[in-house]
């Protein structure tokens, strides 16, 4: 069962809908928002992937959720999610259209290509060798796909990059892991989701708990740190370690 699936439309849920839609009971609406917020958040993440600031998109998705809560007709016998999904997606789509996102994306890709190029040079100078995509993604706090897209854009806009001088193979190793405190592990989230199901058993309990808090409960690193009484840096390190372990496990499985 997917972590994002809201509980089915039970009698309780139908009662909440009645209380909100017929009586205007705000507390019932609040309960429904609580119940279906993961749906909106999941859609924002899936549809928005590596674009817009996530918070903006989440707001748009929440707005879509509120509309869906107002308009849903439980008497028709459809579960709420099957009505809410197209409503929320429609809201995000409209937002993308209205905000000129379609036009901004190619420009954003070019800007990102420049950033990747700069980071590439900086890392190459620092380490004496060209970085990998993973290192760049980590350094720029982008997901791997965004870096690959940027490389693609760079290739399209700047064929000269192929002639750029290459750094020598010599150079010392720098611990990237310690230099970046709060990278965003949402990258490869969907992939991790799948991985979690199959290999979680191989992860130590504390790290499993942190993974669960981060990706299933969607807590921030700081929130997790508060709950566990450890520092955010520690959370970051543990997350990184378990993510790497997960990746290794996927590689070998």
């Amino acid at each position: 069962m997917s972590r994002l699936e809201a509980p089915g439309a039970t009698d309780d849920t139908q009662a909440l809908f009645r209380r909100w839609q017929r009586n205007g009971d705000a507390s019932a609406r609040e309960a429904l928002v609580q119940q279906y917020m993961p749906l909106a958040r999941g859609l924002a993440r899936r549809y928005g992937r590596s674009s817009e600031p996530f918070e903006d998109l989440l707001q748009v998705a929440s707005l879509g959720l509120l509309k869906a809560l107002d308009r849903y007709d439980g008497d028709r016998g459809h579960p709420f999610p099957s009505f809410a999904v197209p409503t929320i997606l429609g809201e995000m789509r409209r937002y993308f259209r209205d905000s000129g996102w379609a036009v901004h994306v190619p420009r954003g890709a070019q800007e990102r290509a420049l950033k990747v190029r700069e980071a590439q040079e900086r890392l190459a100078n620092r380490n004496g060798r060209a970085p990998t995509v993973n290192q760049l993604a980590e350094y720029l706090e982008l997901d791997i796909e965004a870096v690959i897209d940027a490389l693609q854009a760079a290739r399209a806009y700047d064929t000269l990059s192929l002639d750029a001088p290459r750094p020598s193979a010599e150079g010392e190793v720098v611990a990237y892991g310690e230099s970046i405190g709060c990278e965003d592990e949402r990258y490869e989230l969907v992939e991790l989701d799948a991985t979690l199901a199959s290999v979680l058993g191989d992860i130590p309990p504390r790290e499993r708990l942190i993974l669960h808090m981060r990706f299933v409960e969607d807590l921030t690193q700081t929130e997790i740190a508060e709950r566990l009484g450890i520092s955010q840096m520690q959370v970051s390190r543990l997350l990184r370690r378990s993510l790497e372990q997960l990746r290794t496990l996927t590689h070998t499985s």
Partner: protein
């Protein structure tokens, strides 16, 4: 649809491979001049279908994930196929509920974003999700290619059993098989997919630039192929190493190619 797909991907149901599918689709979208929103719709829907195969088709086991892309004048169609238990693990009176229980938001998302969706269970097993998206604004790819090149082979020869839904023979865990036609598609798709594979194999950025050059060369090679303009590429991935098997169709000469990065850190 007996037509040869413009892109055929034969992959393992490894979660990392969904990125390859997305890269291939972005390549197709670029050729078709889809805008960012249309591209995002296609990518999101197909990602859901692929994730469904990754998570549910094989009960945690390895199995094939196949993706076919057809860029026709009437529609862009993407077919995602598995050979496992698929989205209907239990045929029962509760089929509908089961479907939702096993796929969460995936199916509603696909239904909301695609113009048309069909779920099928081919006779030889597995599940097929066929998603149709709005017609590309550009003329069909078949036209683009036939303007300058020999018409591509419409009828798949006997040995080439894709259209007849033959079992996924030759499927090996950990390998990636691509079949691309026509050339415009190969030029857009191959560099993206190979870059993503090189990134996965911990290649450094400068070596990935080399991989892109090689990919462009291979795509160009499809031009020279006498038999249609189809390019078949098989890739085996190891750390800092990609083994490529490249061949034009119909059993003509296949050559092997090894791309390696001996300098990169394996982070």
């Amino acid at each position: 649809m007996a037509e040869t797909p413009n892109v055929h991907l034969s992959l393992s149901n490894n979660a990392e491979n969904v990125l390859l599918v997305r890269q291939a689709l972005s390549g197709v979208a670029a050729v078709l001049a889809l805008d960012a929103i249309e591209t995002n719709d296609v990518n999101t829907a197909v990602t859901e279908a692929c994730n469904n195969v990754v998570m549910h088709a094989y009960d945690g086991e390895d199995g094939p994930l196949e993706v076919d892309v057809y860029a026709l004048p009437v529609a862009l169609t993407v077919v995602v196929r598995d050979r496992g238990s698929g989205i209907h693990p239990h045929e029962s009176e509760h089929e509908h509920e089961q479907e939702h229980a096993h796929t969460g938001m995936g199916i509603p998302v696909i239904q909301a974003l695609a113009r048309r969706v069909e779920f099928a269970e081919p006779p030889d097993g597995g599940t097929e999700v066929r998603m149709e998206f709005d017609a590309p604004k550009q003329p069909s790819l078949a036209c683009t290619s036939s303007a300058t090149e020999s018409p591509r082979t419409r009828e798949a020869p006997d040995g080439d059993g894709r259209a007849s839904a033959a079992p996924a023979h030759g499927w090996l865990p950990g390998t990636v098989e691509l079949r691309l036609t026509p050339n415009a598609i190969a030029r857009a798709v191959l560099p993206r997919v190979l870059s993503a594979l090189a990134a996965r194999a911990y290649f450094s950025i400068d070596r990935i630039a080399d991989v892109q050059v090689v990919a462009a060369m291979l795509a160009a090679k499809a031009d020279e192929s006498i038999v249609g303009d189809r390019l078949d590429v098989g890739v085996t991935i190891a750390p800092r190493n990609l083994e490529l098997r490249v061949g034009p169709p119909l059993g003509a000469e296949t050559f092997a190619l090894s791309l390696a990065d001996r300098r990169a850190d394996s982070d």
